[in-house]
Symmetry: C2
Subunit: 371 residues, 2 copies
């Protein structure tokens, strides 16, 4: 069998993820292998937790990186909190809310969905109503940055609402973290999971996650085993915590990459990084509106790091995307689900969020559209 | 917050995994990032599947790498095959058989365990009995290479037994693959999952897996949803297969590392690699017996790549291991479970399986024991 080495072509990654990776992170992933029980590596894992607390703005002791991609973070959050028959309330205004609902059903939950039109946010009043209608709700889940629509869900009011109840607030911050303000402790978020390959600019493969004391107490009170062995927090935390008990082999290279990526985020400063995303995203959105495109997320609630929009009638969005990749080496995303065949999703995330990238993308698009 | 770059100290990895990584694999993981839906990357993923078929000795179309470590491969196998109330038969002669049983219970199975003393294999007769006692068994599971004991489970007879029934044969080959002969198709194995960080010498983070047509048919006949969204084969195979539908973001860097690691395995040749492990492992086992150590796996069924043994009374195994790491930079494993505080587990796996490493380890041990 003759298979050549896989050397990826050069790409400018301006889709919904992965985002461009800093050379320092790439280099960190190539460092010498070391054991997952090695005292040195356990120290490095502690530093990852410490830096994740800084990035997620939390003091939660139970803060670590799940050994899987963002969706494994979602599943970790859901399966550890749900016991069969529990009611959960899930805001569904795009693909990722739907995914939480699906996962919760598989875990045995009675799922109450709050459906909103794609591109719109979940109004806090609707969550309040659902909580009133379903006392004893285990958790409320919302997606802070809906990668399928570009909608930016506000969390502060929902945080206050849920804090007044026994329910937990679960937040999907996969595309949010590092790109827009996220205040786990201040806003009263109980479980937050994130991805690495968006605004943190680290390769996919890990899912940062954090659990509040209120969430940990729910896990400790469980009367049935968690349906997943691999994602069982009560066991996993014995490796991440002070017991240092073997559970599964951690993805060592990926964790070294995340360690370096988090160092880069903190070197820049979180607020500065949020401001950079805000500025670059707003600029890009102005420019696409100038080109008669329609932004698909609700006004006032548009993520800067992920813009979802439709070109005017007559533009063959798929053909333009394919030429952008083939002739210019630039990746942007097409629509998912309801937006398939209609939307573009442009990510200006992490290392990708620069003025130069906005110019390069728009120049290439203009050339294709005018060609 | 001042956290320095995480530069691992130099280690010779001769424990139960991870094993040493070839520089070509490390370099492959540091290559430019690319999208998981990029046509180029989909081609590279196809090549990973093709090479995995060669390494697992199968023609199964459904052969891919799970986005998680070996235990995620185990969970994928179990949760996709089990529906609540199904009976499964699991051979338990060490930690990893116990883990399969635990995972199957969480998935709702009635688990019949065949318990054997640690270090011994599961006798085929006992599986035959269990199948007779439990008609309609969904699957029989055994561990080919029990990493906790060093026992090498023969599979051919069990394969014949199970093939005559409606049950599936599920094999944990995490530590086996690339180190000892494994013939998925010829032996009639229905689901085989593996790890990357053992005899393939690729960093942890992915779990190769393959499903026979008989196993795929069981998945297609399911009447209840798989309890895991992340590991749901029916959805995941749409990305790995020709539909190329997005499911979750693949761990891109890790897959590029696996691609290069599999190229190295096939360059050496599987049979040659098995022979190298056999020779180096046998040599090491002779040498430890010469030093009055007791091999803990059953005679005639000892893995060459993973040797489990106890030092004579009076040797403080933990102290020697700690000095080996601190003074010589060599990692070996301690005992797990029943063997904790008693066994050493020495892995001569993948890049680590060399005569030079045996010498280096024994010289260091002799120095410490004589010191």
């Amino acid at each position: 069998m003759e298979i050549a080495a896989a050397i990826p072509p050069e790409r400018l990654l301006l889709g919904p993820g992965p985002s461009p990776v800093h050379p320092r992170v790439a280099e960190a992933q190539a460092r010498g292998m070391i054991g997952h029980m090695d005292p040195w590596f356990l120290g490095a894992a502690d530093e990852v937790s410490t830096m994740l607390r800084a990035v997620l703005r939390t003091q939660n002791p139970l803060t670590y990186a799940v050994s899987g991609t963002g969706s494994a973070g979602m599943e970790t959050a859901v399966v550890n909190l749900v016991e069969p028959g529990d009611t959960v309330v899930v805001g569904v205004n795009g693909v990722f809310g739907g995914r939480i609902a699906d996962t919760a059903r598989r875990a045995g939950a009675e799922v109450v969905t709050i459906e909103e039109e794609w591109g719109r946010i979940i109004p806090p009043e609707r969550i309040e109503e659902a909580l009133r209608a379903h006392p004893g709700t285990r958790f409320v889940a919302v997606v802070q940055a809906e990668t399928s629509t570009g909608a930016w869900q506000p969390l502060e009011e929902i945080g206050r609402l849920v804090a007044d109840t026994e329910a937990l607030l679960l937040v999907d911050a996969v595309t949010a973290v590092g790109g827009v303000p996220l205040e786990t402790d201040r806003w009263g978020l109980d479980v937050v999971y994130a991805g690495t390959q968006k605004c943190l600019s680290v390769p996919p493969g890990l899912a940062p996650i954090t659990f509040s004391a209120k969430a940990e107490a729910v896990i400790e009170r469980r009367s049935s085993p968690v349906r997943s062995w691999y994602l069982d927090v009560a066991a996993v935390r014995k490796w991440w915590g002070s017991e240092r008990t073997y559970h599964h082999t951690a993805p060592i290279s990926a964790l070294l990459g995340l360690h370096e990526g988090l160092r880069l985020v903190l070197e820049e400063g979180l607020e500065r990084r949020w401001a950079r995303h805000a500025e670059v995203g707003a600029l890009f959105q102005e420019h696409v509106v100038d080109r008669d495109a329609t932004l698909l997320a609700q006004e006032g609630h548009r993520l800067p790091q992920l813009t979802s929009f439709a070109w005017p009638d007559g533009v063959d969005e798929g053909a333009v995307r394919r030429r952008l990749l083939a002739d210019h080496g630039i990746e942007v995303g097409g629509g998912l689900g309801n937006f398939a065949g209609r939307a573009w999703r442009v990510g200006l995330m992490g290392e990708g969020a620069t003025h130069a990238n906005v110019d390069r993308l728009l120049d290439a698009v203009d050339e294709i559209l005018e060609g």
